[in-house]
């Protein structure tokens, strides 16, 4: 038994349960949640160290041998995703201490947050397709709850759209599972890799691949399936926006990478060709859509879409370098994106608004916050030497090497357009003098807000200035993704 694989899932659920016991006692709930998030981080770090030092880890739940039981498996990609999840979980939990008030706590904010973290960790660690569906549902239920927790009008509006499209995507996902099971008779991912090669009707397999692509594409916010995202992500409390923005679409991207590197890799011209077109369209629509908005969080929301395009671009080129870029981009983007949402929350705490027109003067009055925003925003835009620069550089280079010149050019242009949006926020919220006739500052940033934001910004700097070790991990993950036999042998025991 390799218990270390279970801990990232069990600890958040335990934290959720203990939190429920203390419902109504805000002080204790904050403390228990931070403790739970710390333990979760410790477990994920231990798992990451284990994977990094001794290769892929697997565990058969209940000791049922694969492919009959449920397999948990952690390769480098899963380990990276899980540890970033834990970092974001910890940062948002600390931030919540400052933002989440007792009415939301009484409504069950922390249990839902921890269940979300557990569900996301489970989705990253499972080696079974049906189990992945179950984790998706756990994660979705928690996110539905978090999204409408404040019971504001616009939350209901955004929440309804989010729930509708996500339920539809889940139905597509399980339809795909049914069809795949009918063709192969198995749902274990490693076993599927072997079984799909024996399927007679390869056309039907490609059609099933398209169903999976649509299902995960909705979750990931890929073109043309992303409209639910800008409709809902700006409505909940900032802490919730940040965790949803950092994690949920990335689970969709992770599922795409996993399925289209392990199961559907025998008709690349169709599947990965389609992904390439979708990736370029996603990058452009996201970044152009953002240009039209003038609200801090909505600009960031639409930018999520654009950056998902980069990750899918890495997957669709499917060379070791491109996948390295995709994994590195995931790592960098999850941290930066969550942090930008948190910063939007800090600036809203100071000025009482997310509207860029009413914001202003933050650079004069809050130099430190401006610095934190500067690091994250220009990392997102891909300015050297910040983390986003390396991620984009690798992807552009991978595009040039494989002859995908249009995609490589799109990656560069979209990077510039991202800089436009970030400069707009910088100019309006930070550089511009305070709007005339505006009353004094609404509030002071809390130390519990600035602490996680600073740590995430420092992490962004570290990834940017010392990319070596992070690149090595991403390269190892890409190596495993391009050699599915490593995954298959680890799960099935080298049969």
């Amino acid at each position: 038994m390799n218990t270390i694989l279970v801990l990232p899932v069990v600890i958040p659920f335990a934290a959720a349960a203990v939190n429920l016991l203390f419902n109504g006692n805000s002080g204790r709930e904050h403390r228990i949640s931070i403790l739970g998030a710390l333990l979760h981080f410790a477990a994920c770090a231990a798992l990451f160290v284990r994977v990094y030092s001794s290769g892929m880890q697997t565990m058969q739940v209940g000791n049922w041998p694969a492919p009959f039981g449920i397999t948990l498996a952690a390769d480098h990609l899963s380990a990276v995703m899980v540890i970033v999840t834990a970092i974001l979980g910890l940062a948002v939990t600390v931030y919540s201490r400052a933002e989440i008030k007792s009415d939301l706590l009484a409504a069950g904010y922390y249990p839902l947050l921890h269940i979300l973290l557990g569900g996301v960790s489970g989705a990253f660690l499972t080696g079974d397709l049906f189990n992945l569906y179950v984790w998706f549902e756990v994660m979705l239920m928690a996110s539905f709850g978090l999204l409408v927790l404040g019971r504001e009008k616009q939350q209901f509006d955004g929440g309804v759209k989010y729930v509708m499209i996500n339920l539809f995507s889940t139905l597509l996902f399980i339809t795909g599972i049914g069809l795949l099971y009918g063709m192969t008779g198995t749902l274990n991912l490693a076993d599927l890799h072997l079984a799909v090669q024996k399927v007679d009707n390869q056309a039907l397999l490609t059609a099933t691949a398209a169903i999976f692509m649509t299902a995960f594409g909705i979750k990931a916010g890929m073109f043309p399936l992303f409209f639910w995202l800008p409709a809902s992500y700006h409505t909940p409390p900032v802490a919730v926006s940040a965790i949803l923005a950092g994690l949920l679409t990335k689970v969709g991207v992770y599922a795409l990478i996993r399925i289209f590197s392990l199961v559907f890799i025998f008709d690349m011209a169709h599947t990965h060709g389609l992904l390439l077109i979708a990736a370029v369209a996603t990058m452009f629509t996201g970044v152009l859509g953002a240009a039209g908005y003038n609200e801090f969080r909505r600009i960031l929301s639409v930018h999520i879409v654009s950056q998902v395009g980069y990750m899918v671009l890495g997957l669709s080129l499917f060379t070791p370098l491109a996948l390295t870029g995709a994994v590195f981009f995931l790592l960098h983007n999850m941290i930066v994106k969550s942090n930008l949402f948190l910063i939007s929350g800090v600036s809203a705490r100071i000025s009482g608004t997310f509207e860029l027109k009413q914001l202003g003067g933050l650079y004069n009055n809050h130099r430190f916050l401006a610095l934190l925003f500067f690091v994250s925003a220009f990392s997102l835009a891909g300015f050297p030497p910040l983390s986003g620069f390396w991620a984009k550089l690798i992807l552009v280079r991978a595009g040039l090497e494989t002859g995908a010149y249009i995609a490589a050019g799109a990656a560069v242009v979209v990077g510039l357009l991202t800089a436009y949006s970030m400069t707009k926020i910088w100019g309006e919220a930070f550089w511009k003098p305070e709007p005339a006739g505006k009353s004094a500052e609404k509030g002071r940033p809390d130390v519990w807000m600035l602490l996680p934001v600073s740590v995430l910004a420092i992490l962004t700097m570290v990834i940017g200035l010392l990319p070596g070790p992070f690149l090595a991990v991403a390269e190892q993950a890409a190596h495993e993704l391009t050699h599915p036999e490593i995954y298959v042998n680890a799960v099935l025991g080298g049969k």
Partner: protein
Amino acid sequence: METALAFMCGIIAAASIYLMLSGNLIRFIFGLVLATNAVNLLIFVSGRLAETRPPLIEEDAAVPAKALANALPQALILTAIVIGFALLTFVFILFYRTYQSLGTVDTESMRIAEPGQSDPEAGATPGERDDTSKPAAGEGPA
């Protein structure tokens, strides 16, 4: 039998998509129920219906002597039904609260979170809670 069930899946799925696209939250719920059933039926059929013998292995035997009905799809469907039921309950309550709060079940007139060009201020301010001064959302598309 499989062919008949396959056509049935298709018909139910078509009906459910028609309902889901009709732009009414109540109809969406009915569409969702139908779609869940269509998918469950699909998983059931994909397990093949050739054998009807119950999946029980005789005592002292390690493997069944004769071919048995496939039990796995039923286990999958059972899980899917339970999850689907929980989701359905949540969706009912969410839609009911949405109706209470927004005063409409017509998805076309739900514009609070994404105000149109003519109405840039609505819904943009955070912390706005059941503000009755704004026009009710049920007064037609923006």
